[in-house]
C-alpha cells in the first residue's frame, strides 16, 4: 500500500533557513533549511518539505551535563570550541547546539565570557549554530544581547523563549538578524499564544521554530508526540500561527533513572538507545530538528531518518 496523503490539507509549514555564509554576512560553511511540509512527515515519495536534521548538543559548563556523556567525552568536555570542532568533524551532525550552561549557575555575572565562548565556537566549526542562553529573567537582557552581538549576521537559532520571558530573545533576533526557538510546555494553545506574542513584538513568523517540549520515553514522551502531531495538523489545516517547523530535544532522556543508574559497561549503549528511541519518533511526529547529546547517537539516528525518508513506495511497512 502506498500512502500518498491522509487528507486534503490546505496549509503548509513555513520554511526557515539557519546559518549564513559569507555572501549573506556570515561565516558558516553551509546553511540548512527546514520545514515546507505539505503533509505529515515521511508521507509521499519523496516526502514533502525538507528532510529532518540532527543537532548535536554541547555546553560550556559540563558540571551541568549528563554524566554518561561527560564520561564518554573525557577532557573534551572542558572546552566547548574543541568539543564543537571534534563533534562536527568526527560525527558530522547538521547543526551544533551550544548551551551556555555557565549562565545557569547561581551568582553568574561573567557576561564577557558569553561573548568569548560564542566567538570561539564560531571559529571552531563551520556548521550553523543553535545557541541556548540563560533562563533567568534577571540575566536574560545582558546574556541575549551578547549572544546576538557575537553572532551578528550568522543567523543563529536562539533559545529559549517562553510565554513569560521572550522579549530579550526576540530583541536579540530582531537586532542582530537571528531566529528564535519558542517553547511551550506541551500545550498547543500556549504554543500558539507565544507565536502571536512574538509576532506582535515584531518578529516575523519565518524566524520562529516551535519547541513543544519533549519528555523522555515513558516520562511523558507520548504527550509530546501527541502535541507535536496536533501542531502539525493545525499547520496543515491552515493555522498560520502554528505553521512553523518544530525542534525536539531528548533533553530529559539522559537524566532518567534507567540511564543514570545503568552499569558503566553498558552506559553508552543505553544512552544512545534512549536518545535514539525518543528522537526518531519525534521526526515522525513532525520535528524538523532533533537533538542528541551522546555523539554515538548521531549515526544510528541519521540511518533511521534516511531510511524513513527514502523508503520506496509500498515497502513502508516492511
Amino acid at each position: 500500500m502506498t500512502i500518498t496523503t491522509l487528507s486534503d490539507w490546505t496549509g503548509q509549514v513555513g520554511t526557515v533557513t539557519l546559518g549564513a555564509m559569507k555572501a549573506d554576512g556570515g561565516t558558516r560553511s553551509a546553511t540548512v533549511t527546514i520545514g515546507g511540509e505539505r503533509d505529515l512527515s515521511f508521507i509521499g515519495t519523496p516526502p514533502t518539505g525538507h528532510r529532518p536534521l540532527i543537532a548535536y548538543e554541547l555546553c560550556d559548563d559540563p558540571s551541568l551535563w549528563p554524566a554518561p556523556v561527560t564520561r564518554f567525552l573525557g577532557d573534551r568536555a572542558s572546552d566547548p570550541a574543541e568539543w564543537a570542532r571534534w563533534a562536527g568533524e568526527e560525527y558530522t551532525p547538521d547543526l551544533i547546539r551550544l548551551f551556555l550552561t555557565s549562565t545557569r549557575k547561581r551568582g553568574f555575572s561573567d557576561f564577557a565570557s558569553v561573548t568569548t565562548t560564542v566567538e570561539n565556537v564560531l571559529q571552531a566549526t563551520g556548521l550553523p549554530l543553535i545557541i541556548e542562553g540563560s533562563n533567568d529573567s534577571d540575566l536574560d537582557s545582558e546574556v541575549f544581547r551578547r549572544i546576538g552581538e557575537a553572532g551578528e549576521g550568522e543567523r543563529f537559532l536562539i533559545g529559549t523563549a517562553e510565554a513569560g520571558r521572550y522579549r530579550s530573545i526576540a530583541a536579540s533576533a530582531m537586532a542582530y538578524g537571528h531566529l528564535v526557538i519558542a517553547q511551550s510546555p506541551i500545550d498547543i494553545n500556549l504554543a500558539k499564544q507565544l507565536n502571536i506574542l512574538l509576532r506582535e513584538i515584531g518578529l516575523p513568523h519565518d524566524r520562529i521554530v516551535i519547541d513543544p517540549y519533549t519528555g523522555a520515553l515513558g516520562y511523558g514522551f507520548e504527550y509530546s508526540y501527541s502535541v507535536m502531531e496536533r501542531i502539525r495538523f493545525a499547520a496543515l489545516k491552515g493555522d498560520d500561527d502554528l505553521a512553523m517547523p518544530m525542534i525536539s530535544s531528548a533533553i530529559d532522556s539522559l537524566t532518567v533513572k534507567e540511564v543514570r543508574e545503568a552499569d558503566p559497561s553498558v552506559s553508552d549503549r543505553i544512552s544512545v538507545a534512549w536518545e535514539l528511541y525518543a528522537m526518531l519518533p519525534a521526526t515522525i511526529a513532525g520535528a524538523s530538528i532533533v537533538c542528541v547529546r551522546h555523539p554515538s547517537a548521531i549515526q544510528p539516528l541519521r540511518a533511521g531518518i534516511d531510511g524513513l525518508w527514502s523508503a520506496p513506495a509500498g515497502k513502508g511497512g516492511a
Binding site: T10, E149, A170, A171, M174, A175, Y176, L190, G202, G238
Partner: protein
C-alpha cells in the same frame, strides 16, 4: 540659505544608512553638497534634511564633537539601543534641549527620566547645566550628551529613522511608512528649555511631523508646542505617547493564564455561583472620563465570599469602568466581551454567556486558597491593563452582590445594551462586502466560527458587525477578522464563496460550507454562548425559538439546556441554530425557510421582551396579527397542544411549503 553655501563631500562614519534622515525620506545616499541640495528641494525644503546635511558637513570638516559629546552614534550602538527598546529595558526615547533657567529643575527632570526607564538624549546648554548641578552624563547612565548646540538634536531623529529601517521594516525612500512608524511605534518625546534661536526652533517644530510631542518648558510663543512646567514635563510627555510602566503580575491567590480557559467548574466543585438563571447577574463595561477612574481600584458592594453559603447562587453585578485617551464609546461592547476570557483565565473561576445572562462560578479549591469576590475584580482590572496597554490608562471594577442593588444597576445596563443594539439597526447585509468572524469561543468549541453580518449579530448577541469591525481595529490579530464575502453561491440561503473559504480555514478544515440565513442546510456552527436556539418542528412545519433564561419544557420535547448540550461544541446541526435575540427581528431571520412566518413558538418572557420592536416590524412587512399567532408556554408546551392552537389561529406556517 545656508544650504547654498554647502560645499565638498561629507558622510557619517560606521553606518550603512548614509545620512539616515535624508536616506529614509528620499531613498538617496547623499554625500555631496549638490546631492544635499537636491534632497532638500525634493523634500519640500524639509528643515530636518537641511539640519542633517549641515551637521554632517560640519562633523566631517570640523571633526567629531569633543567629549563628553557623542555626536553621531554608529549603527552598532543603535542596534543595542533597538535591542533595549524591544527587550523592554528602555520604555521610550526623550530628547532634552535648550538651556534650563534652573539647573536643579533640569537635574530632577533627568533623574525622573532615568527612574522611568527612558533613554534621554541631551542637546545644547542642558549638558553644561547638568554637569554644573553635579549630574553625571553618559550612555551607560541613560543620559546621552549629543552635542553642545541644539542642532545636535538631529541625531535624535537619525536614531529614530535608523530604528525604523532596522526594526520597523521601513524601506528607505518610503516617507509615508517612516512617518507612520514614527507616529505609531516610536515612543519618543522632546522637552525643550529656553534658548533656541529661530532656525533651531524650526528644526524642533519639524519633529512634530514624526508624532513627537514637543513639551516646552520655555517661553516659545505662538507655536503648537505644549507648555508645561519642568516638574510635569515627563509625566505629560509619557502620557501623550502612551508610555507606561507595565503590569506584569496579578496579585491574587490564584493562577491566571489562558491555559485554564477551557476548564469548566462542575456543580460539585463549585463554592458559589452567580447568574445562570439562578440569581440576577450582569456585566457592563463603560468608558469614563479619566478623573472618574482610579486605576486598579476594586470595590465589592455587598457580602464577600466568607459571608456566602457554600453551594448557593448569589446575585452579581460586574461593572468595569475604563479610561484612556484613545478609548472610544464604540469600543465598549468589544472590551466587555473580554470579561468572558479574563474570568476564565483564572484557575478557579468560570464564566459563560454575556450581558445580563452571565453565569459565573468560583471553585471550592480557589476559595480554600483565599480567593474572594474582590479578586475577580483585581483579575479583570489587571488583565484589561495588560492586554490593552495602548488603549486603556486606568481600569476600576465594582462588584455588587446585594440583590436590590444588582437589580437596579441591571436596569441601567439594559438601557446601555439597547442603545448599542440600536446603533446597528438599519444597516443591511447587502450594504457591505466584508463581514467579520468571531472565533473567541474556540477555546471551548475548537472548530466553531461565527460569521457576523450587519443583519446577523454573533449568536451570543454581544458582538454586532460594527463591534467586529472595531475589535479588528483594536487588535488586528485578534479573534475578529474581516471576511470578504466573495461570489454569491446562493442568495436565499446566504452562502458566499469567501465566507466558505474563511470558515473552512478557521474551522481547521472541519466545516466546508456555511449558509448565513438557513437553519436547514449548512447552518452556522454553534459554540455554547448562544442567546437562543431556533429549532425546526416538523409536525407543525415551523420553528420555535427558546432563550437561555427559559427553564421549562418546550414543544420540541427538550429544555434549553438539553438542546444546548445537543447542538453546542462547534458542530453544524441542520434543523437547529444558535442565534441572538436581535436576529429574530432581522429580515434575514429564517430567510431560506420562508422568513418569520415560520415562527410558531417562543417563551412568553422572550415574546414580551421583543414585542415593542417585533410588532411594528411585522406590521411593516404586512404581517400584522402574526405576533398573536405565535404560541408561548402558557398556550402550549407539548407539540399536540401547539398543533391544535396553530390550526385554530390559522398560523401561516401550516400552509407553507413542507420543510422536510
Amino acid at each position: 540659505m545656508r544650504m547654498d553655501g554647502l560645499s565638498g563631500t561629507f558622510s557619517y562614519e560606521e553606518t550603512a544608512y548614509h545620512l539616515p534622515v535624508t536616506f529614509a525620506l528620499t531613498g538617496k545616499a547623499v554625500h555631496t553638497a549638490d546631492e544635499a541640495r537636491a534632497a532638500y528641494h525634493a523634500t519640500g525644503e524639509n528643515p530636518l534634511v537641511a539640519c542633517e546635511c549641515l551637521t554632517a558637513a560640519a562633523e566631517t570638516t570640523g571633526g567629531k564633537a569633543p567629549p563628553p559629546y557623542t555626536g553621531f552614534l554608529p549603527d552598532a550602538v543603535l542596534r543595542t539601543l533597538g535591542y533595549s527598546l524591544v527587550d523592554g529595558s528602555i520604555l521610550g526615547l526623550v530628547v532634552v534641549a535648550g538651556t534650563p533657567q534652573s539647573p536643579d529643575a533640569a537635574a530632577a527632570l533627568c533623574r525622573e527620566l532615568q527612574e522611568k526607564y527612558m533613554l534621554t538624549f541631551l542637546s545644547g546648554g542642558i549638558v553644561d547645566s547638568l554637569t554644573g548641578a553635579g549630574v553625571k552624563v553618559g550612555a551607560e547612565l541613560r543620559l546621552v550628551p549629543l552635542g553642545g548646540r541644539p542642532f545636535s538634536a538631529i541625531h535624535f531623529i537619525d536614531i529614530i529613522a535608523r530604528v525604523a529601517m532596522m526594526f520597523g521594516g521601513v524601506t528607505p525612500g518610503d516617507a509615508d511608512r517612516l512617518l507612520a512608524y514614527a507616529r505609531e511605534r516610536a515612543k519618543a518625546i522632546a522637552i525643550v528649555f529656553p534658548g533656541l534661536d529661530e532656525e533651531e526652533t524650526a528644526v524642533f517644530d519639524a519633529f512634530r511631523l514624526l508624532g513627537i510631542p514637543i513639551l516646552s518648558a520655555g517661553e516659545y510663543e505662538g507655536s503648537e508646542w505644549i507648555r508645561v512646567s519642568a516638574p510635569e514635563a515627563v509625566r505629560t510627555g509619557m502620557d501623550l505617547k502612551g508610555i507606561k510602566v507595565s503590569v506584569t503580575a496579578i496579585p491574587i491567590p490564584m493562577a491566571c493564564s489562558p491555559a485554564f480557559e477551557g476548564k469548566s467548574i462542575r456543580k460539585e466543585e463549585m463554592f458559589v455561583e452567580f447568574g445562570g438563571g439562578r440569581s440576577p447577574a450582569f456585566e457592563l463595561l463603560r468608558c469614563r472620563p479619566a478623573e472618574e477612574v482610579e486605576d486598579g481600584r476594586v470595590r465589592v458592594i455587598g457580602p464577600e465570599i466568607e459571608e456566602l453559603k457554600e453551594g448557593s447562587a448569589v446575585p452579581l453585578g460586574i461593572i468595569v469602568e475604563v479610561a484612556g485617551k484613545t478609548m472610544k464609546k464604540e469600543y465598549e461592547p468589544v472590551l466587555e466581551r473580554r470579561i468572558h476570557n479574563f474570568v476564565n483565565y483564572g484557575e478557579g473561576t468560570w464564566h459563560v454567556a454575556q450581558r445580563d445572562i452571565i453565569w459565573v462560578r468560583i471553585s471550592k479549591e480557589a476559595v480554600s486558597h483565599g480567593v474572594r469576590i474582590e479578586h475577580l475584580g483585581k483579575l479583570i482590572a489587571a488583565k484589561f491593563r495588560m492586554d490593552f496597554p495602548d488603549l486603556l490608562d486606568a481600569v476600576q471594577v465594582t462588584l455588587i452582590t446585594v440583590e436590590a442593588a444588582v437589580l437596579e444597576a441591571k436596569k441601567e445596563a439594559e438601557k446601555v445594551y439597547e442603545e448599542r443594539d440600536e446603533r446597528i439597526r438599519g444597516m443591511k447585509d447587502t450594504d457591505v462586502d466584508t463581514y467579520y468572524s468571531c472565533t473567541l469561543c474556540q477555546t471551548f468549541a475548537p472548530n466553531h466560527v461565527c460569521i457576523i453580518t450587519p443583519e446577523r449579530p454573533a449568536l451570543c448577541g454581544a458582538i454586532t458587525w460594527l463591534d467586529g469591525r472595531i475589535a479588528y481595529e483594536i487588535s488586528p490579530s485578534g479573534a475578529n477578522q474581516p471576511v470578504a464575502k466573495g461570489r454569491v453561491i446562493d442568495a436565499e440561503r446566504g452562502e458566499f464563496e469567501g465566507v466558505n473559504r474563511f470558515v473552512k480555514k478557521a474551522s481547521h478544515g472541519e466545516v466546508d460550507r456555511c449558509s448565513l440565513y438557513s437553519v436547514m442546510e449548512y447552518p452556522m456552527t454553534c459554540c455554547g454562548c448562544f442567546e437562543c436556539i431556533a429549532v425546526m418542528l416538523p409536525e407543525v412545519n415551523g420553528f420555535m425559538v427558546v432563550n437561555r433564561e427559559y427553564k421549562g419544557d418546550t414543544p420540541s420535547g427538550m429544555s434549553f439546556s438539553t438542546l444546548a448540550g445537543t447542538i453546542g461544541g462547534g458542530a453544524q446541526t441542520p434543523g437547529f441554530a444558535g442565534i441572538s435575540k436581535t436576529y429574530i427581528l432581522s429580515d434575514r431571520f429564517l430567510q431560506a425557510e420562508g422568513g418569520i412566518n415560520r415562527l410558531v413558538w417562543m417563551p412568553s418572557a422572550l415574546k414580551e421582551e421583543l414585542q415593542g420592536r417585533l410588532v411594528p416590524k411585522l406590521e411593516g412587512r404586512g404581517l400584522s396579527g402574526l405576533f398573536d399567532k405565535i404560541a408561548d408556554e402558557k398556550i402550549a408546551v407539548t407539540i399536540e397542544d401547539l398543533t391544535a392552537f396553530l390550526a385554530q389561529v390559522h398560523h401561516p406556517a401550516l400552509a407553507m411549503k413542507p420543510l422536510l
